[in-house]
């Protein structure tokens, strides 16, 4: 029974990794670079939510409405932050310095943003973890002997709905097709009228939304935020993305859940110290046996925007 409980916990934790892994996948498959700002966005959402809830700021709300309002503000902060990053790294570099296929530039500048923001927050709040004044942890239900915390269950559902919505959007809307066209062949897409300067911010907005939601939900579910909270989640989400297969949304979903399960089961059998070894070990084994990941294809490469 304890094992089943750990599996359920793994799924819940995995849904956080899934959200962040999907954000990584969007940027890497459409813009062909690893967006290192993603862990920061996750952290910004968590810290802003915490700050607002702690100081009781959101619009003078109190009681049960205060923390959802704080979470929403955290997610919005993450979206704004992501758009800021787009404007001053990706777009600036791409339009000023010509060769857009040089994806080392956005990668390094996003890494710069990560470190600057992380340390700015550290200067203001210190590097200690802060307790998030969320809903009390006894909001728990029991399904067949398994304890499920209701906020976690709600988060899990929100995440899955968001990803289904994203997949639907990519498939059935004009913007979704435009994004896929830019991802596959920016040149042909541009000729048909897709405008990079209009559609690239959409990628960053979605990234901000996913990370913002993940960061806010993480803050509620695990009750703790810190300026470094993005690093561990970010690296595990990258592991999940690679296990699932670069460029595949469903791969990111599967990979994120696998990493969550591996983490919880490792804690169950071997203790918390073994988690990193197990997660990265699983990644290396996957890469050895199936270099393209579980659901990946080989289309990730050169010639992107």
């Amino acid at each position: 029974m304890l094992l089943v409980q750990q599996i359920v916990n793994g799924l819940m934790l995995g849904s956080v990794y899934v959200t962040v892994a999907v954000a990584f996948t969007l940027t890497i498959s459409i813009l062909n670079f690893l967006n290192f700002t993603i862990p920061t966005l996750f952290m910004v959402a968590g810290m802003v939510s915490w700050g607002l809830a702690y100081f009781g700021l959101p619009f003078g709300l109190s009681g049960p409405l205060a923390w959802p309002a704080a979470l929403a503000c955290g997610a919005v902060a993450s979206i704004l932050c992501s758009l800021l990053v787009e404007r001053f790294t990706f777009r600036y570099m791409r339009t000023r310095h010509g060769d857009s296929t040089e994806h080392a530039i956005p990668l390094v500048s996003s890494l710069g943003f990560l470190l600057i923001l992380e340390n700015l927050i550290r200067i203001f709040y210190g590097s200690d973890s802060q307790r998030f004044p969320g809903p009390s942890s006894d909001l728990t239900t029991q399904i067949g002997g398994i304890f499920v915390r209701i906020p976690q269950l709600v988060s899990f559902v929100i995440v899955m709905v968001l990803i289904l919505g994203l997949v639907w959007m990519m498939k059935h809307t004009r913007i979704g097709r435009g994004l896929r066209a830019i991802a596959e062949n920016p040149d042909a897409a541009t000729i048909l009228g897709v405008e990079p300067n209009k559609i690239v911010p959409v990628v960053f907005m979605l990234t901000g939304l996913l990370c913002g939601l993940a960061g806010a939900l993480f803050a509620v579910n695990y009750g703790e935020v810190s300026p470094m909270m993005g690093e561990d989640i970010g690296s595990k989400a990258i592991a999940g993305m690679v296990v699932g297969g670069l460029g595949s949304l469903w791969g990111a979903v599967a990979g994120g859940i696998i990493v969550g399960l591996v983490e919880m089961l490792t804690i169950h059998f071997f203790g918390a110290d073994a988690v990193q070894v197990a997660v990265w070990g699983a990644l290396l084994v996957t890469l050895l046996m199936r270099p393209q990941g579980l659901f990946g294809h080989n289309a990730i490469g050169k010639g992107k925007l």
Binding site: R174, R177, G178, R180, A181, A183, E184, N185, D187, A188, A189, T190, I191, L192, G193, V194, E195, A299
Partner: protein, 235 residues
């Protein structure tokens, strides 16, 4: 005059791909641009569609100066480029490829136009929900043309559409070009297949190293001995 090109100059790094080319396409006319590899034909078309910024000159479409406009704006005004090598989106279905052609359209006539495309190209209709990779080279060329047609263009620019097609499909392609032209669409045709191009076009211009070498009515060009020696003999 539907399209007017004045003193167009396009540079790639230090290479001057197009150097002061001027010509025009009348409404309802087929004009062909001929020339050897590296003569600047593709650079010319890319500049016309806005994918490449010209270093000098002017592009006027339907009386409006397009030179500073984005490719998106040019598509919306009625210019469509079928690029070299077709550039089909292989990760998309046939229908999604066609819908990409309608990216700039805001009206709700797109679905009716899809049906018309499927009627014209039954092979595409049968495979509308399959990945575009299942199509043969010739069918992919039809898809690229269909994708351009969905944007409701008044001018279609074709970059070497017959490249890599079987002789049977080349025939079909040129029939189709005539058909589209008789529907009132003006066509700017870049071709290596000089014989066929001069047959379908009213006028032609020949580029050499980015400059205009010859131009005139297609029949005159076809009879021109220097052109025959340079291109027709080889074709």
């Amino acid at each position: 005059m539907l399209l007017e090109v004045k003193d167009l100059e396009v540079t790639y790094g230090r290479t001057k791909a197009v150097q002061g080319v001027s010509f025009g396409v009348e409404r309802g006319e087929v004009v062909t641009v001929l020339g050897a590899n590296g003569a600047g034909k593709t650079s010319l078309l890319r500049a016309l569609q806005g994918a490449r910024k010209p270093q000098g000159g002017q592009i006027i479409f339907d009386g409006e100066d397009m030179t500073a406009l984005s490719p998106a704006a040019r598509v919306a005004k009625g210019m469509a480029l079928v690029p070299e090598g077709r550039q089909i989106f292989v990760s998309m279905t046939v229908e999604e490829n066609l819908l990409m052609g309608g990216y700039m359209r805001r009206d709700d006539g797109v679905h009716g136009d899809l049906a018309a495309i499927y009627e014209r190209f039954p092979n595409l209709g049968e495979r509308r929900h399959m990945k575009a990779t299942v199509l043969s080279g010739g069918e992919q060329q039809m898809l690229a043309l269909g994708r351009a047609l969905i944007s409701k263009p008044r001018l279609i620019m074709l970059d070497e559409p017959s490249l890599g097609l079987s002789p049977l499909f080349v025939e079909k392609l040129f029939d189709l070009i005539r058909e589209l032209n008789s529907d009132g669409i003006s066509i700017l045709l870049v071709e290596q297949n000089t014989h066929m191009a001069l047959e379908v076009a009213a006028r032609g211009i020949v580029l050499e190293l980015g400059r205009e070498m010859l131009s005139g009515p297609a029949a005159e060009l076809a009879a021109n001995p220097s052109l025959a020696e340079a291109y027709l003999g080889a074709a």
